[in-house]
């Protein structure tokens, strides 16, 4: 199978859906000729014109609000939010407007929009361009949240998101745009709420999102050398969450670590760990562990920044401790 970059995968997904449905359009800062600072959307304006690839002023609440209005009236906007950190600027439009229009209208209105943005630290971009804020929107009922872990997921999840009749937020890891993966030439969609078992194992389950899937896979390689068999699960979407696949895995392995790049406190790791503890408690042989980003603003200095995110070695260390039964009396 051919391999393409995650950036190319997103571009292809959007182009295919824009060809299929004339109501789909793109809106955001520097999405047209510039194709975004990451060049993900490069070339789309040549095919679809500035009517459907719309450059906006730097007015995030304005254009996200406009996307909501367009989605309520027959269009299917894809909003480009240049950095995930800017989600704080658009919280009212996303969480009070897009997320609630369907419910508050008793199902008579709906908002088929996609907000694509990014996450991920270690790009030396400091505290306001490095955050992974998906937990904030995953907390709000009415939004769906997708977290592609490779070019394959980036394409399939984007196409599904565009066709979903609800507001979907997609977080791409901005450090993965040039990462290649096999992606079929023929059309495909990826079902939301269906996790992917990336690697089967018997001793411990590593549940990981976005780029943390790579971290988990590398950790599984390290563990294999010690004779520990790790299962790696990529939920692909955190809302909806495929609880069943995760629980079935943990019932088999009896141990779990949840790895995510959002801050560890009050985040995705805690949510998934808690569901496992509530619903598979009897099967557990060790406390379920959380590994998120440190609870600090992301520092600029490489010497400090690299300390803030989970690493394969760190995950492997915790997994060994869990498997060896060293965690029962952890302070």
């Amino acid at each position: 199978m051919r391999e393409i970059t995650l950036s190319k995968a997103v571009n292809e997904a959007i182009a295919e859906e824009m060809r299929r449905d004339p109501n789909v359009f793109l809106i955001g800062e520097d999405v047209a000729e510039a194709g975004t600072p990451f060049k993900v959307l490069a070339g789309l304006v040549d095919e679809f014109g500035t009517e459907r690839v719309i450059d906006t002023p730097i007015s995030e609440p304005g254009f996200v609000g406009m996307a909501v209005g367009a989605a309520l009236t027959g269009s299917r906007p894809i909003v480009d939010l240049m950095f995930g950190d800017f989600i704080f600027l658009v919280m009212d439009q996303l969480c009070n407007q897009a997320a609630k229009a369907c419910y508050m209208s008793g199902g008579k209105l709906n908002v088929p929009m996609v907000l694509r943005t990014n996450l991920g630290a270690t790009r030396r971009s400091a505290a306001q361009h490095s955050q992974s804020l998906h937990a904030l929107v995953a907390h709000i009922p009415g939004l769906k949240v997708a977290m592609p872990s490779s070019a394959y997921e980036a394409k399939g999840l984007m196409k599904t998101a565009i066709r979903d009749n609800n507001p979907v937020v997609i977080f791409e890891d901005k450090l993965m745009y040039q990462d290649k993966a096999p992606v079929p030439e023929e059309e495909f969609l990826i079902t939301f709420g269906k996790a992917n078992i990336k690697r089967e194992g018997t001793d411990i389950t590593l549940i990981a999102t976005s780029s943390m899937v790579q971290v988990a896979e590398k950790a599984a390689d390290l563990l294999a050398k010690d004779g520990i068999s790790a299962e790696v699960i990529d939920p692909r979407t955190i809302v909806p969450l495929d609880e069943e696949t995760i629980l079935n895995s943990v019932r088999k392995t009896s141990r779990a670590i949840v790895i995510d790049e959002g801050h560890q406190s009050y985040g995705i790791t805690g949510e998934i760990a808690s569901r496992i503890t509530e619903k598979a408690f009897y099967h557990l042989d060790a406390p379920v562990l959380r590994m998120g980003a440190m609870d600090v603003p992301v520092p600029f200095s490489p010497a400090l920044e690299d300390l803030t995110v989970p690493t394969p070695e760190g995950v492997a260390d915790r997994a060994r401790a869990a498997v060896r039964g060293e965690l029962f009396h952890a302070a």
Binding site: G62, G65, S105, K108, N110, N165
Partner: protein, 348 residues
């Protein structure tokens, strides 16, 4: 009704007498709805609070009468008037107000989110200024879809302090979108005089973006309607956006529970507006002077509307609450085409 009135008074028949009487009736309907809503609050029959539109009827009616069902509006927390004026019926409105299953939003929205979506009402927004992006986006969508739909964004003077408005006015002006920003300046931003929260002039703010701005007496339904008709026609031709500042007055407090309000608004001021600038009384007077209707005709409309409202309240009081299984319904909507496509593809 119009023909009958003309025959009875002997006045020369007016081509738009029917329109006038419909506008009068719609204003009376809004006032009657609010009077009933206020009573429901005072008698503790209504859950929560509500924000009365009484006094501002000429704004909603003058504007919505210039729109078609395909045209869109966005409404506010003080939105009952917009809802009625854009074509809603009393029964489903009172059911919504009381949280009943037959409400327009199946009881999930209540007073602050009441809207009859089937007539182009994109929802009432309880975030002040929260719908300015939605209205502008609806106008963008109308343009992209190649329709001539116009969107009117209703908001109060208080909302002019929100930054969102300036962001979307900029884009609406850049892209010549068919949106009309209608600022109902009722003199008060919640419990604060507008003069204390708004520097400079509101029309100048729109004009700074190159948006044609108008000021109109929001108590004069014909003036509002005439101006809106012109602007809507021009917006359909791509000459928008526009801004209208409508001078009006809120008869009640910020909400129904804001009763002792002399610390921010004098009783004399309220009395003066109610006695000299009431949009319904003044238009009724004009209708009789012009021979469009007699005082008896108008009284009959009033009585008929009041009876309708009372019957709708009784209906809503007796109506059923939504069943418990609806609590987690409508969080998401189904995506049938997507699901069919997913079923059709080979297992991944």
């Amino acid at each position: 009704m119009a023909a009958k009135a003309a025959a009875k008074t002997g006045a020369k028949p007016k081509g738009n007498a029917e329109d006038y009487l419909r506008m009068y009736r719609q204003m009376v309907r809004i006032r009657a709805f609010e009077d009933q809503a206020n009573q429901l609050y005072l008698s503790a029959k209504m859950p929560g609070l509500t924000h009365m539109y009484s006094g501002q009827e000429a704004v909603a009616v003058g504007i919505c009468e210039a729109l078609t069902d395909d045209d869109k509006i966005t409404s506010t927390h003080r939105g009952h008037g917009h809802c009625v004026a854009k074509g809603a019926e009393f029964k489903a409105m009172f059911c919504e107000l009381l949280g009943k299953a037959e409400g327009y939003c199946r009881g999930k929205g209540g007073s602050m989110h009441i809207a009859d979506q089937s007539h182009g009402n994109l929802g009432a927004n309880a975030i002040v200024g929260g719908s300015m992006g939605i209205a502008t986006g609806a106008a963008l969508s109308a343009k992209l879809r190649g329709t001539d739909e116009v969107t009117v964004c209703f908001f109060g003077d208080g909302a002019t302090a929100q930054g969102l408005w300036y962001e979307v006015m900029n884009m609406a002006a850049l892209w010549k979108l068919p949106v009309i920003y209608a600022c109902e300046n009722n003199g008060y931003s919640e419990y604060t005089k507008t003069a204390e929260i708004a520097a400079g002039s509101l029309t100048a703010r729109a004009e700074a973006f190159g948006i044609e701005a108008h000021k109109v007496d929001g108590q004069d339904v014909l003036a509002v309607n005439e101006l809106t008709q012109k602007l809507v026609a021009r917006a359909r031709k791509g000459e928008g956006p526009f801004f209208i500042e409508l001078a009006t007055y809120r008869y009640h407090g910020h909400h129904v529970g804001d009763i002792n309000r002399e610390y921010y608004r004098a009783k004399d001021e309220e009395t003066e507006w109610k006695s000299t600038r009431d949009p319904i009384l003044n238009f009724g007077k004009w209708l009789t002077e012009q021979g469009v209707a007699s005082e008896d005709d108008l009284a009959a409309i009033g009585a008929e509307v009041k009876a309708d409202a009372e019957a709708a309240v009784a209906y809503a009081e007796a109506a059923a609450y939504p069943p418990e299984n609806e609590v987690d319904m409508h969080v998401y909507v189904d995506s049938p085409e997507l699901n069919a496509a997913l079923r059709g593809q080979p297992a991944a």
